[in-house]
Symmetry: C2
Subunit: 234 residues, 2 copies
DNA sequence: CGAACAGTTGATCAGGATCAACTCGAGTGG
DNA sequence: CCACTCGAGTTGATCCTGATCAACTGTTCG
């Protein structure tokens, strides 16, 4: 049951057959452990394997020469960290937020499994499309929403995604990011993120400290973030 | 040779076999024509077919209730407009910028072709991943680049993508968008976009009017946009 | 004990938004 | 044929969201 988080992601649209599950189980190598802050996936790399996050959290980022950084995704268990690496070299890095356990699926054996079980390829494709849908929603937020709505929206998303993986009850969730991480994800400065957080706290919508998010007023938070979960395709 | 633009996109990583090309040719129905301004793909739709842009240009957008709009992509011939529709309902619309010709690939027959030619599915998957890479680059721009760099960067991208489809010589390219379209793609106001364009023109980097982009100083434009084409994976 | 980092606060600044008005075609209909 | 409208582009004036700079607190950790 090592790959259980991955199966949960892959089965969001259609269940896998026992044979498909077995094929994945057969090809995975021993999971690797990484410490917080380590790069799980390197920018510019042309990987020979797919990494799947089993435990812990991570984030995807592009960083410019002068240090400006954009975080394009936060990753929860079950997420495949480098699907693009199946086809091309990576144009971004993935960095561990916490200690992480990562399953490794060698490309050669994964591609063989795709040949033997075409639906497996479709399932991986499908989760890469959901990730793209999240990118579009983030673009909408960064481009067109206020800082206040952006922060609220991100917290709504993370609560739901973590709940889908059994890591949250919908009220409290582990989200071990600094305010700087939030800023880099939302296109804000750290100072302004801090002030928006104080607003959200002051309105009794949530608390966020020590890497834990607690939603105290879910309808209020959704409204503040103009949040509609349709784009998550759960 | 109706599908020639699609083949050009699909073959960016590996050539298709004659059998694979034939399979696509066999399943395409008569192309449809659309007028400028018409929605080619409707938000919320759950399509039964894939649409491929053959001629003309289009853009992908999410629009909020109050009219704020984020354009998440501009599409050139050969682009598949609704790959996510293979797996899920669409969370955005695609609108024609010009009169367009669109090829229609029914899902049922496309899926059969994927079964018969697994590499076809991989090729479609691959172009959906390139699109996601572009999304990430746009996020970086909207979140972390100045308005000036954003505008320059977008023009660099469009010149290269249009050139890859044989629609530009690398100097001049058809790009029939209004300044409002640019603003909605870049997360700016129309007024500010106008002023940035004047700057870029004033520095002799480009001219942009009547739906035509002319690059007068390519190195200068690249520098202004902090542009590195790696993310296009050409 | 001292670094180093995350968070917080205040003061100031600026990039870009907003509002409003005007120009300039390109239709379009009387 | 002209008046009218409408959309796109342009300009100026003003405002404001959020950036920047700097200092300070608290905590953790070596």
């Amino acid at each position: 049951m090592l790959l259980h988080p991955l199966f949960a992601q892959l089965e969001r649209h259609a269940p896998l057959t026992p044979a498909e599950r077995q094929a994945l189980t057969d090809l995975v190598t021993a999971p690797r452990r990484f410490a917080a802050g380590v790069d799980l996936v390197q920018d510019g790399d042309r990987p020979r394997e797919c990494r799947v996050l089993l435990t812990g959290q991570a984030f995807r980022h592009k960083t410019l020469a002068d240090g400006r950084r954009q975080i394009s995704a936060f990753h929860v268990p079950g997420d495949v960290l480098d699907i693009p690496g199946l086809f091309m070299s990576l144009d971004h890095g993935v960095c561990a937020l916490t200690a992480c356990e990562v399953a490794v699926l060698p490309h050669s054996r994964l591609q063989a499994a795709f040949q033997a079980h075409p639906n497996l390829a479709l399932a991986f494709w499908s989760i890469s499309l959901i990730e793209a849908a999240i990118f579009r929603e983030w673009m909408l937020g960064i481009g067109r929403r206020t800082a206040y709505a952006r922060v609220a929206h991100l917290f709504c998303e993370m609560i739901l995604r973590l709940r889908a993986m059994g890591l949250s009850d919908g009220v409290r969730a582990p989200f071990p990011v600094t305010q700087q991480h939030l800023s880099d994800a939302l296109g804000l400065s750290a100072v302004h993120t801090n002030r928006v957080l104080q607003q959200l706290r002051g309105q009794g919508l949530l608390s966020f400290s020590g890497g834990e998010l607690v939603v105290m007023d879910w309808p209020g938070l959704q409204a503040a973030g103009e949040f509609d979960a349709a784009y998550l395709h759960t």
